[in-house]
Amino acid sequence: MTSVGTTGSRQLLRAEGLSKRFGGVQALSDVSFAMHRGQIVGLIGPNGSGKSTCVNLLSGNLPVSAGEVWLDDELLTGEPIDAAVVKGLARTFQSTQIFAEHTALENVMLGCHTLFKQGPEKSVLRTASAKRENLELVTHAERSLALVGLAPRRDQIASTLSAAEQRLLMIAVALATKPKVILLDEPAAGMVASERRALAGIIRALPSHGVSVLVIEHHMGLIMEVCDRIVVLNFGQKIAEGTPAEIRNNQAVIDAYLGHRDHA
């Protein structure tokens, strides 16, 4: 069930009773789940079932209406997004987000922002220590690019990359923050089958680099292939949780998807 993990079954990320209300819409109600170090967990559900809302609550992009988020026994709820990143939680977005005018490497260097130990003023004054640290982090950024297969695109302006490459770049920026866990909101959106297969390989390799994964996806093939566990949402509620095999045969899940004509 669990794949590669350093400390076995210790809980890494825990959502407790997460709820979110937008005016009259209860987008998420009382959702709890936990993921362990080294796991790849899938978060699935029909359109509008609250998956992105769940990620936004976990990352701190949206304030919770109720509930708590714990990362490695630290409470994240109420912290700004950048604080969650420092504590080891990174995320990507359902719609492609990049720094369009920067090169791929410069994009990823911005993901290294929290890793700089030398103050920003040293960078302005161009001290030797700041230059040295910058070089070290360029190496780290290049590794992040290589993890998603974008090493050959290092110096290309981000807006000139293909749509699929831009989505991979967004993942590389998140990986550059050295996260313990990364939340991927529909990483395969807009990708063709071959690109999706490459993405599956990239995701499956992440735990071996010390990064656990929570992935939202509509493509059941990809989810079933990469995930250790799957959490299923419907109308903002958790309706099932289990291994891919258990989820495939779960009657509530089948009903939810048939009800939406949205199955894979």
Binding site: N61, P80, I81, Q97, A100, H102, T114
Partner: protein
Amino acid sequence: MWTRFAIVAVIAAAIVFPLFVTVNYFIHLAILAMIFMIVAQGANVIQGYTGYVSIAQGAFMGIGAYASALLSMRAGFPVWLSMLAAPIFTAVAAAIAGYPALRIKGHYFAIMTLAMNMVVFTVLVNWVSLTQGEPGLPSIPSPEAINLGFTEIAFEKRRAYYYLALAALVLVMWIVAAVVRSRVGRVLLAIRQNEPFAEAAGIACWKYKLFAFIFSASLAGFGGAIYAHYMGFINPTPFSADASLNAILAVILGGSGTLTGPLVGGALTVILPEALRVAEIYRLIAYGLLLILVVIFLPRGLVPAVVDGVRSISRRRKTP
């Protein structure tokens, strides 16, 4: 290599300029232009690099001008010290005003800064015991003469003040260049391009926005101080929201987010209205028309347009 050569050439040209220009009025315009370039470069930091339009540069210029004038006249500071204290004073004012304003995202920021400008203007007009209100502050001293042994530089002289303004501008350009080319500059550009993604990358954007705002304001304050001790007289009029809009215009005209754009734009916004005086009553109409044409045909500003033009010509030459 080429840029370094161009920088040296431009500075050299600026140094010899007063030797060839006999009309005092042109020197006067050049000084005002350089002061306004400093203010516009400040606007560029927050507007061009960070992507947040501030409509308060005029107010900060005024705060710097009054701070420096009053420090030297009432508190007995040497003028040189007042001129250096002015940007610090302005920075403190910007920090207090900017902290709440920058917690807000997007367009409300522009409106908040416009309100700030109006408040500062009203204070300058109405706090008569300090600012002497609408009639203004007369007899603001020039910087103390510098004795070089064999000769003395007196800054009441227009030519001497020209070099003071030039030195200030070069200093400002050097500092701004160092900031925008550093890691800080990359973060500012990232905020302009995609603030939510910058936050997701772990950047505490509000700190950098606050820095950009304070930095831009302190440059305006510095420009204001140089203005006050040059004119020898200030009243609130040149520090209204009009001045802020001119600074925004200078950035757009010259090319926002480029180091040289505000130089070109700042010079144009000072010199164009003067040059168009020949057209008398049609002056403002002609000025407005010119601006509209630039914005329509060169939306990124003059400097990027010229750079692109030169590049495409040299490329055409290379490939016959």
